[in-house]
């Protein structure tokens, strides 16, 4: 149900219903806002970050109906009836998603600012392809910028999570965590 009501401030607020991280919610917001702004400012879901608000960095990636979307480019108004997943919704209750676990195991986050965007983009990749090649991982993640890690630990974390999601008893390679001396 999409209605526009007069609010007390001069701006008219839009009201929409949608599902966010598995829960049905209603939210009111200034109609010009992007999904990024609605999530962060009107729903208190600040796990989604912004690095450019121009569609150039991937920090703001969330899932809309299971597909990665740059939330800085999507209008909040377009979310009526959609299913949105943010980093806050990745864990299953208290147990982390395998990607969250492997990112932590391998040190694939440094400052962590780009991490939510990478996690969600990688999640969709692994849902589509249980065994992506290194090249496929690189391509799937090429819209996300990380300035800290040099990406290598991120690829490794995605590969390790993929192996575990296939049911393999995978552990990080010695060299990956100790380096070579």
């Amino acid at each position: 149900m999409k209605t526009i009501k007069k609010s007390r401030t001069r701006l008219e607020k839009a009201h929409i219903s949608l599902r966010v991280n598995g829960e049905s919610v209603e939210v009111a917001f200034a109609p010009h806002k992007t999904l990024l702004e609605v999530l962060r400012e009107d729903m208190g879901l600040t796990g989604t970050k912004h690095g450019c608000e121009l569609g150039e960095c991937g920090c703001c990636a969330v899932l809309v109906d299971g597909q990665p979307v740059l939330s800085c480019l999507a209008l909040g108004l377009a979310m009526e009836g959609r299913e949105v997943t943010t980093v806050e919704g990745m864990a299953d209750g208290t147990s982390l998603h395998p990607l969250q676990q492997t990112f932590a195991e391998l040190g694939a986050a440094q400052c962590g600012y780009c991490t939510p965007g990478f996690l969600l983009t990688a999640k969709v990749l692994l849902e589509k392809d249980a065994k992506p090649s290194r090249q496929e991982i690189k391509e799937a993640l090429s819209g996300n910028i990380c300035r800290c890690t040099g990406y290598i630990k991120i690829y490794e974390a995605v590969e390790l999570a993929a192996a575990r999601m296939r049911g393999e008893q995978a552990e990080p390679a010695e060299e990956t965590i100790y380096g070579r001396q």
Binding site: T46, T48, K49, E88, A104, G107, C111, L141, K153
Partner: protein, 774 residues
């Protein structure tokens, strides 16, 4: 006691909050009644401000205040700039421009409104009437007579000139069999932390204290400087660096917006927030590098280096930010690189131009030095018909010669350059690579092998070398229930010291890491400190904590000795307990802690409680080193250089957590390769910024790189008790020249001896097309 944690790839304590989105960066913080600031900025590189009309902006509903340069200049101090270089010109630098603007993006007015959208709309309604002036963006032109002068209080755009000579350079050149010369352009770069800058300020009662949350690397320095600028006593200032989304030097500063937000919060008595947009970040956050280096190297025909002359022109932009003036001077210190250069003459001219200020960007003055020495030594090798490996080996000082005094004027602490080089040759299979290169050349293909045997200056640093002190602080408190709180004056922002410091503390005290919490980044919860930059947090800050831990251990031994009726010298720490050496007698860690706090049976002359603070003043920098080997293949069709193999053998001294070190090395190498191949801040000749978004400024992406083959050698530093050298910048410093050396090596059959960075495909394509060096 054998270390249980130090040296192990312990998972980061930071990560649970980062991978779940639970952490709070500045923009995630919302305070009741918070207002939002937006900044109106100059669209011209050089112009007089004829008038500013704020009336339309002020009338927009929701706008609470509009301030311009006069009000700020009257009520707020100027931006601080360190450096006491003789004859350094110090231009006026107010947070908002007064009378004139000198670069695109310079703040002119600030708007305060009920939300960020209104603030931004209002900022656009401010009408600024400019009289455009000719701009100068080329530093060599800028210092010539007749160039437009940026700061009219001075007669020219020479910010300062500086130089020194160590050894007898002329003598070296007169004895030389050969002299090689080259001009190197070290292009301007943008740091591009993924989190842009952001600030919140609020007056908090009952202390009537200004609390500032800023995405900063230096909360303590910021507290001191902002207090001075805003006229607030320092004991009523508190700065908090919450989660910080990367800095790379760009947040090692005091920025106009930090002062403006503080001023406005004080003025209106409500919290104020400002969050930088990416465009503002590209234009108004410091840039890095931007030097022209004219190098001459004198050698004997066997490759022995005799002397070097280095002339630097530093394009520092329109104003000094905090360390703008100092950074180019560091280039001279490191210019001899890993080699014995008996004499060095260093001349530096810093030029004001109509651009954003340069300042510390990962490496900060040292990558420029490494690049020029690593390039010129390759040029010399080619001229002398030597292998690039042999000329390096020939000029390395030997391990026994350390500490080694260089003609840069510093003492290298410890090293074994040859060992790292040899290991890199082995890992890369150098002989095999040369064979392959010869085969490919026969087929008309271009493949090149490039070296960089770098050394760098880390663990900044002794206070004598640093404007506001180079020490660091650490407090360790063992709580009555046995948990341990470490607070450090350093301010990590992605490096992982919450983990590595906990590893050290847990090993020293024989407790579990879960029982250690590391606090940082809040001036009210940590001892005064310097901050995180210059690869110093662990080597200097970690050492301060280590010393505090030793104090506490001595004190705990006294309690244990008293309890066991022996002397403290007979007590040792083990996991969970303190034992009497050579006996089975012990007291538990917890019992000692309890006795220190209940204080019923104090050992004579010992005070209750278990808390210690130490300030560590290092006696020297540390000097990590290593060899990087880069192999490139060039696509003949497009000219694109592709890194096909990358081997790095780095030595950062003792390693606390290899997982963290590897991460620093990866990220650093990618940033360094990216300078060689992709990145460049571009202003046109009118001073318009052409690289103002992430579409125009080429930050590397996930698909751009091959796998790296990384190894370590370990040469402990004698400068601190843990033997740490620091790992934050080595990757960036070491990698850039290896890539350029590789591309030049690939194109050597065409007579190419040098190409300036970034090595974009079109440059190489042109060379291939012309069939020779252009």
């Amino acid at each position: 006691m054998k270390p249980r944690f130090v040296g192990q790839p312990i998972k980061r304590k930071e990560d649970p909050r980062l991978v779940t989105g639970a952490s709070a960066y500045v923009d995630d913080i919302v305070l009741p009644g918070m207002l939002h600031m937006a900044v109106a900025r100059s669209i011209h590189a050089h112009a007089r401000i004829k008038s500013i009309d704020t009336s339309r902006a002020s009338k927009l509903p929701g706008v609470r205040a509009v301030v311009t340069g006069e009000e700020i200049a009257a009520n707020c101090g100027q931006l601080p700039a360190a450096g006491d270089i003789k004859n350094m010109k110090r231009p006026v630098h107010h947070p908002l421009a007064v009378g004139k603007v000198r670069f695109v993006g310079e703040p002119i007015a600030a708007v305060l409104a009920t939300d960020a959208y209104v603030a931004r709309d209002a900022a656009e309604l401010i009408q600024i009437d400019y009289e455009e002036l000719p701009a100068v963006t080329n530093p060599e032109k800028a210092v010539q007579q007749g160039s437009p002068i940026l700061h009219e209080e001075f007669s020219d755009n020479v910010a300062y000139s500086f130089g020194w000579e160590n050894g007898n350079t002329e003598d070296g050149f007169s004895k030389a069999d050969t002299v090689v010369k080259q001009r190197f352009i070290n292009q301007r770069l943008a740091p591009v932390s993924m989190e842009p800058r952001g600030v919140i300020a609020a007056i908090r009662m009952p202390e009537n204290e200004l609390v500032v949350w800023s995405s900063t690397q230096v909360p303590h320095l910021l507290k001191t400087q902002l207090g001075l600028m805003l006229g607030i006593p320092e004991n009523r200032m508190r700065v908090i660096a919450p989660e910080v989304g990367g800095g790379f030097g760009s947040k090692l500063n005091v920025y106009a917006e930090e002062a403006l937000v503080g001023y406005l919060a004080k003025k209106v008595g409500q919290p104020v927030k400002w969050i930088e947009s990416r465009r503002e970040n590209m234009a108004g956050t410091i840039h890095g590098r931007d030097q022209i280096n004219d190098v001459e190297l004198a050698l004997k025909k066997d490759g022995t280096i005799l002397a070097m002359k280095l002339k630097v022109i530093a394009d520092i932009g329109a104003y000094y930010q905090l360390l703008t003036a100092i950074i180019p001077t560091l280039t001279g210190l490191l210019a001899p690189g890993a080699y014995r250069v008996p004499a060095l003459k260093f001349d530096l001219v810093a030029a004001f131009t109509n651009k954003m200020a340069t300042d510390a960007y990962r490496g900060a003055g040292r990558p420029e030095a490494t690049y020029l020495i690593e390039r010129i030594i390759d040029i010399a090798a080619r001229k002398l018909g030597m292998d690039p490996v042999d000329i390096r080996r020939k000029n390395f000082p030997k391990p026994a010669e350390f500490p080694f005094q260089t003609s840069g004027g510093v003492f290298y602490d410890s090293a074994n350059y040859e060992k790292a080089l040899d290991r890199a040759l082995e890992v890369a299979d150098y002989k095999g690579l040369r064979k392959k290169q010869a085969e490919l050349r026969k087929q008309g293909k271009y493949m090149g092998i490039g070296f960089s045997s770098y050394v760098e200056i880390c663990a900044m640093g002794p206070s004598i070398a640093m404007a506001s002190g180079g020490w660091e602080s650490g407090t360790v408190r063992i709580e009555p229930t046995g948990t341990v709180t470490v607070s450090t004056g350093a301010s990590p922002h992605g490096q992982g010291q919450e983990t590595s410091f906990a590893q050290i503390a847990a090993d020293e005290l024989g407790i579990d890491m879960e029982n250690v919490t590391v606090l940082h980044g809040d001036t009210a919860r940590t001892p005064y400190g310097i901050g995180t930059f210059g690869s110093r947090a662990t080597a200097v800050g970690g050492t301060a904590m280590y010393l505090a831990l030793q104090d506490l251990k001595e004190k705990m031994k006294k309690f244990a000795a008293h309890m066991l009726e022996t002397t403290p010298g007979n007590i040792e720490f083990e996991v969970g307990k303190l034992v009497m050496t050579g006996t089975a007698r012990s007291v538990s860690f917890m019992d000692v802690v309890t006795s220190a706090y209940v204080a019923k049976k104090l050992p004579p002359g010992v005070e209750p409680g278990l808390e210690a603070t130490r300030f560590f003043e290092p006696s020297n920098f540390t000097f990590p080193f290593g060899t990087h080997i880069c192999v490139v293949e060039i696509d003949e069709e497009t000219g694109e250089p592709k890194v096909v193999k990358y081997v790095a053998v780095d030595d950062c001294g003792n390693v606390i957590n290899p997982l963290l070190v590897e991460g620093q090395v990866h990220g650093g190498i990618v940033q360094g390769i990216s300078q060689a191949l992709y990145e460049e801040v571009v202003y046109d000749e009118n001073g318009q910024l052409l690289s103002g978004t992430l579409m125009d400024y080429a930050v590397p992406r996930a698909h751009d790189f091959p796998m790296f083959e990384l190894e370590r050698t370990v040469t402990p530093s004698p400068v601190n008790p843990m033997g740490i050298k620091g790992a934050g910048e080595a990757g960036t410093i070491g990698s850039t020249p290896s890539v350029v050396n590789a591309v030049v090596d690939a194109l050597a059959p065409l007579g190419v001896t040098h190409i300036d960075m970034p090595l974009r495909p079109e440059k190489i394509w042109k060379i291939l097309k012309l069939g020779r060096a252009s």
